[in-house]
């Protein structure tokens, strides 16, 4: 078998003919496109330029959609021989079962510490730590704010920006209309590929999906009320007719094209929405913390959905020292500021004090305000991906009218409870 293996490998090498040339090292980062944008963006500058120079390396970014990037990274990290140096991971696609695929960063951190690691909240590190194995350095938090299109508001004669969720609901209905030329406008849009979009709406009603101590609570009256609202919105056309297929990518296009008036999305999307090159409404998007139902009390804000992207090193990465030095570089306080200017949600609080960030990322004050109370979509566990899919399946059933919201949420309990850790 060994000779066949060697033969095959030789043949493979011959055929593979990698494009490596000029003695330059090639480093591969696998991530979502947004990371490439905030790491290398022109506005704040390229965080990797100095590092590439110093190490005589070129960086290749392989970018995919949110779900696809995890699918790919895990598959890649499971191989005997890997080619990915750094991977970006989102906590809700993680879990103890994938932890062995990645390098334990503890020893690396001890030997060659990050710059000012205390600035990064321990809870963000915790989101990427499984059974004591820390696999990711937090890089980006995607914390949701509430966006609206001022131009469309004006067109419809809406002057007040909603400050309670009741007002959002009212405005959403008002903003749902058909223009003279037949083009239709939806009042609200959000993503449906996983619960991160609708979580805000459920929490605005005081509900939740899975609590930190792994209890399923989405069949409580608050969450059911939120799902009922979603169903009613969908029926009335407040939500776009094709929203069932929306991933975050489609929400962006819809908002940029002005086909919907409001959404809840990461604060950093402010850049995409107001970008004259991509958006039909540059400079017309406002953003604020998402307000909750006024009857809930408290500070009146929804505990915003957040998620934490972290940089990890696949177990099979070819040169882990090199990977680590790149991670350190990208995560440095200076580069955190650069990325924040490019639209990243900075994990270091000091970035919010930087004058450039204040000037170029005008939403950062609002973002900073909601950060202390922000919540993950679900706490990480092995079957989280499946539980989220089941949940979305039942929510969509309710929205399509195939089941009553209360019944659907109850059905979800029956299917999700067996998956929860005890």
């Amino acid at each position: 078998m060994n000779t066949t293996r060697r033969g095959l490998m030789a043949g493979a090498t011959l055929l593979a003919m990698p494009a490596i040339a000029q003695g330059q090292k090639r480093v591969t980062i696998m991530s979502h496109a947004v990371h490439q944008r905030v790491v290398t963006g022109a506005k704040g500058g390229d965080s990797t330029a100095a590092w590439r120079e110093k190490n005589n390396a070129s960086i290749e970014w392989l970018t995919f959609g949110v779900e696809a990037v995890h699918e790919r990274v895990y598959r890649e990290a499971a191989l005997a021989q890997g080619s990915v140096d750094v991977a970006f991971l989102l906590e809700r696609y993680g879990g103890p079962h994938i932890a062995p695929l990645f390098e334990d960063l503890g020893p690396l951190m001890a030997a060659d510490p990050l710059e000012a690691p205390d600035e990064i909240s321990p809870s963000m590190f915790a989101a990427h730590t499984y059974r004591g194995r820390s696999i990711g350095v937090p890089y980006r938090h995607a914390t949701h704010g509430f966006f609206w299109n001022k131009a469309l508001f004006e067109e419809r004669g809406v002057s007040a920006v909603p400050t309670t969720f009741e007002q959002i609901a009212e405005t959403a209905e008002k903003m749902t209309f058909t223009r003279g030329d037949g083009s239709r406008l939806a009042g609200y849009a959000t993503s449906m590929d996983d619960p991160s979009g609708i979580m805000d709406i459920i929490r605005a009603h005081g509900g939740d999906f899975i609590t930190r101590d792994y209890k399923y609570v989405a069949d409580a009256p608050e969450a059911v009320r939120a799902v009922t609202l979603l169903r009613d919105w969908y029926r009335k056309g407040v939500l776009p007719r094709n929203m069932m297929t929306f991933k975050t990518e489609e929400v962006i296009t819809t908002m940029q094209q002005g086909r919907a008036a409001m959404t809840n999305q990461p604060f950093g999307r402010y850049e995409n929405y107001n970008d004259p090159k991509q958006s039909k409404f540059p400079g017309q998007f406002g953003v604020a913390p998402l307000p909750a139902l006024s009857t809930l009390g408290g500070n009146g804000l929804v505990p915003a959905k957040t998620s934490v992207w972290a940089m990890a090193i696949p177990r099979n990465a070819p040169d882990k020292k090199l990977s680590w030095s790149l991670i350190k570089e990208i995560s440095s306080p200076q580069n955190t500021i650069r990325a924040a200017v490019n639209g990243n949600g900075p994990v270091r609080m000091s970035a919010y004090d930087d004058p450039r960030v204040k000037e170029l990322a005008p939403y950062s004050e609002a973002e900073r305000r909601v950060l202390p109370t922000a919540m993950l979509v679900v706490p990480g566990f092995e079957q989280a991906a499946r539980a989220m899919d089941i949940f979305m399946e039942e929510v969509q059933k309710a929205m399509l009218g195939q089941a009553e919201p209360a019944a659907a949420m109850k059905a979800a309990r029956g299917r999700i409870e067996p998956l929860l850790p005890t």
């Binding site: 079962h97 239709r184 069932m244």
Partner: protein
């Protein structure tokens, strides 16, 4: 016929080695995997038929099986009728026959991903030009992003569109072996034509028709990219087919045991569909042997 010597038999080896290495052994291994619980760490624990119990207890699996069933039937028979009609048309009187045939088989060259992009482009709700036209003339658009039935219908149309050239080619080739006057009569001569078609043409192209039908059944069962790239099986996993179910189980939930059980089920289903044909081939081959 002669018996082959060893040196001649050796000529068969490469072909069979490929099949053995990449299809037969993996298929056997899938059988074993379906009896274990495996994940990334690579340790496989024997669990007996637990994966099958999970699989057959999962409503989503049955939904996927049902969707596969009806999409496959719609595709295979839709394509058969269309392919036969086109073959009759092309085999009869036709100026620029070559050009017509070239046009008809063009979709065969299109990859599934581009095909999805093409059909999405013309059928995108509200903005696609065919959607626009359909609304304009009052038919109403195909609501494939929201309505599971419409989504599956679009997937079926797509599949028919890409694969009709295959069926068409086989039937056209078969028709060419029949005297052209008969083909001609079947198309033009009304009642007599029908009789000619029914009693002369159909029987003579029947073997080809069955082969085309079978191959399309087998291949249609694998339908994946059409659904995956249109809806990923949504909304509410209502448009999933077996291959999508398998892919999701394996590469999203990382449950390779359960995915293998799905795979083996698909395999047995394919063989069951093919069984009558295989028996037929077997008989004929061994009769000649």
């Amino acid at each position: 016929m002669k018996r082959a010597r060893r040196s001649e038999l050796a000529l068969l080896a490469p072909a069979h080695m490929l099949l053995l290495a990449f299809i037969v052994l993996p298929a056997i291994y899938v059988g074993w995997m379906s009896l274990t619980k495996t994940s990334f760490e690579g340790s496989a624990a024997f669990v007996g038929f637990a994966n099958y119990a999970t699989l057959f207890g999962d409503a989503v699996f049955w939904r996927a099986a049902w969707n596969t069933f009806w999409v496959v039937n719609a595709v295979v028979y839709g394509e058969m009728l269309l392919g036969l009609g086109l073959a009759l048309l092309a085999a009869g009187w036709m100026p620029w026959r070559r050009v017509l045939i070239a046009c008809l088989i063009a979709p065969y060259a299109i990859n599934e991903v581009s095909a999805v992009a093409m059909w999405r482009y013309v059928l995108e709700p509200d903005v696609g030009m065919v959607s626009w036209l359909l609304v304009r003339i009052g038919i109403g658009q195909l609501d494939w992003t929201a309505d599971p039935t419409d989504a599956l219908t679009l997937a079926a149309i797509l599949s028919i569109w890409t694969h009709t050239p295959f069926t068409f080619l086989i039937l056209y080739a078969a028709l060419r072996a029949v005297p052209q006057e008969l083909t001609e009569a079947a198309v033009v001569d009304g009642a007599r034509g029908w009789a000619v078609f029914r009693h002369v043409l159909l029987p003579s192209i029947m073997p080809a028709l069955l082969v085309a039908l079978l191959f399309r059944y087998i291949i249609a069962m694998r339908i994946f990219a059409e659904i995956w790239l249109l809806t990923e099986g949504g909304p509410a996993r209502l448009t999933e087919v077996l291959a999508v179910y398998l892919y999701r189980t394996a590469f999203r939930y990382h449950e390779f045991g359960l995915a293998s059980a799905t795979g083996l089920t698909m395999m047995l289903l394919s063989l069951a569909i093919a069984a009558p044909y295989l028996v037929h081939v077997y008989r004929r081959m061994f009769r000649h042997a």
